[in-house]
Symmetry: C2
Subunit: 403 residues, 2 copies
Amino acid sequence: MRLFQVRTVEEAVTVLRRYANVARPSRVCPLAEALGLAVARDILAPEDVPGFDRSTMDGFAVRASDTFGASEGLPAYLEVVGEVRMGEAPATALSPGQACRIATGGMLPAGADAVVMVEHTETVDERTVGVTRPVAPGENTVRRGDDIRAGEVLFAAGHRLRPQDVGLLAAAGVAEVPVLAPPRVGIITTGDEIVPVEQTPGPGQVRDVNSYTNAGLVAACGGVPVRYGIVRDDFDALYTAASRALAETDMVVVSGGSSVGTRDMTARVIDALGEPGVLFHGLAVRPGKPTIGAVVAGKPVIGLPGHPVSAMVVFDLIVRPLINPGERRLAVRARVSRQLRSAPGREDYVRVRLRRENGELVAEPILGKSGLIATMARADGLAVISLDSGGVEAGECVDVLLF
Amino acid sequence: MRLFQVRTVEEAVTVLRRYANVARPSRVCPLAEALGLAVARDILAPEDVPGFDRSTMDGFAVRASDTFGASEGLPAYLEVVGEVRMGEAPATALSPGQACRIATGGMLPAGADAVVMVEHTETVDERTVGVTRPVAPGENTVRRGDDIRAGEVLFAAGHRLRPQDVGLLAAAGVAEVPVLAPPRVGIITTGDEIVPVEQTPGPGQVRDVNSYTNAGLVAACGGVPVRYGIVRDDFDALYTAASRALAETDMVVVSGGSSVGTRDMTARVIDALGEPGVLFHGLAVRPGKPTIGAVVAGKPVIGLPGHPVSAMVVFDLIVRPLINPGERRLAVRARVSRQLRSAPGREDYVRVRLRRENGELVAEPILGKSGLIATMARADGLAVISLDSGGVEAGECVDVLLF
């Protein structure tokens, strides 16, 4: 057995990423089905958006210079030469001294460079409008390319598309998107004491929680969970299940077991799967110390603790960034409602429930032993007590990672 | 045409909820498929979890009173009478003066009331262990029912299940869950200038963005988007499409059009669909003023602005809480990097990008006209400038609703 240094979360993710190298297949997908998928390559804008100068107000398209000096007392009188119809090119160009009715979104006629809001005009007669306030060139318009410039990178390879991103691609006319197949993640639960959810546990037995939370977390990150069920605490049984999962998926997550020596056995099984094998055994994190990080043939294999809460915390810290490397995740700041102790040299992740108090965000630690899954369901996120602090006092601010 | 008061977001959601009354069908679903669905009724825990007293450490199950006064210098010597095997009931009860090897998660033998961590013991011989530190009754154990108490409400009706919630149900043995069918939301885009994404816009035309963002937002909220395509700015065409959508779905969202008079036409169409019809026309919100709120035969019908960004903001504020009424949504606090002006009597929602600076969350406003969809793709959330403020100064803190 090799000896491994205990890693921080940052070191763990870095070393796993260094060895992980899974080429996921890509395909071209209709835009309406692209939500939640990661783009396979940088997506460039094929054209300018908008493709023409548009009005952002209901009013009159004008030459701005014709309105200079206009006021309520001395309006600028312009000849109304028509109306821009929505979805059509204007019939005529504007000559000096002319104006054209236009609605929000309408195309500016040639010669016009600004729009006067209808509120700043007075109708004189059918052919004449009085402008009561001057506009600057460009005012109340968006110019061709203001929204999207042809050739600009809309999304970098790997970015996972949110609703607004799909909207941006629609605007740019990207009707078909090259996307990556979502990563398939094999899920194995080990433990002689674990029984399926449908089964009534006998004395000393507990139901399989981790298959469910891990599958749910994989799906929430945009991956496809593939379940390999409950495996006994036995080298051969675990080796067989893990080999199969490794062959069939892009990443494997093994959680449990809790019995003495099982964690070492899990590490030996993972190491036997192939090269480079186990990269670290032990995280400087509470809860989550007995975590195993490995890569086999370019695929990450993570051994999570058996305790459901520890497993969820470590999944959030280690597995999530592997499934969704492009995710931009920002901790929020909140004031802790009570003192939180920590040991230096270890990061503590404390389940907290957030609430508002006097306009501030307050993080209320949810107390409970790490095995208690109910504490996780009550939590909004994890407060981070950093490596080198001995804890935080009540009323101090902490970072909270939201679920 | 009736006259309507302009509403705040809170008033708008309240009045829509008062009239909305859609009975969604429920079904019983296997737990593995329940992620993201809303529970159809209160879910009670069928039994205590854990179902027995368990160890939370690797060590020795003991009677706590046998360890009182133990120290490094004067250990308490106990007779080792066996080992608890994982997943099995202990073979023997502990008598005074006895201890039993136990692993994390193991079932406490009768007579034991605490666990001594292995680190606080010394092995004397095969049959004797020395305890070098006393434990209190209950220490290093979880008791039957500590995690979940039989009969307690695990989730209230309407709660949408997250990964940790599915895990809690697994722990409690809820293998099948009564869930509500996700709400079906009909999506209509209107506007004579709108062309499908596949089509190259002619002069004055733009592509359909709102069908894509609205469908994506519906899906992200847990609803099922049903698209009814692009409809011309014409009373009969819109009435036909909206009637069909209303008959086939639980809620209808119409966005656009931008041309003068079209917004009034949309309101007239919605009002013609049935009772009670339009409840408000106008939101005290920027962007998003020209919003229409209606309920017809218990189903909400929302008229969103045509501008993609305004439509997304209003969707987030008005439609999201209708699709997912159980969502607990907390704004985070961030310091704004520059002054934001606002008019009193109106709520402003400013797109911001968040970043960390000196450990604090800073909200950087994304400047750009409301029609620019690119600004939405760059944003992490919306900073809220409240009704009665005239704005915020640079460096002040604001609430940010995260996307």
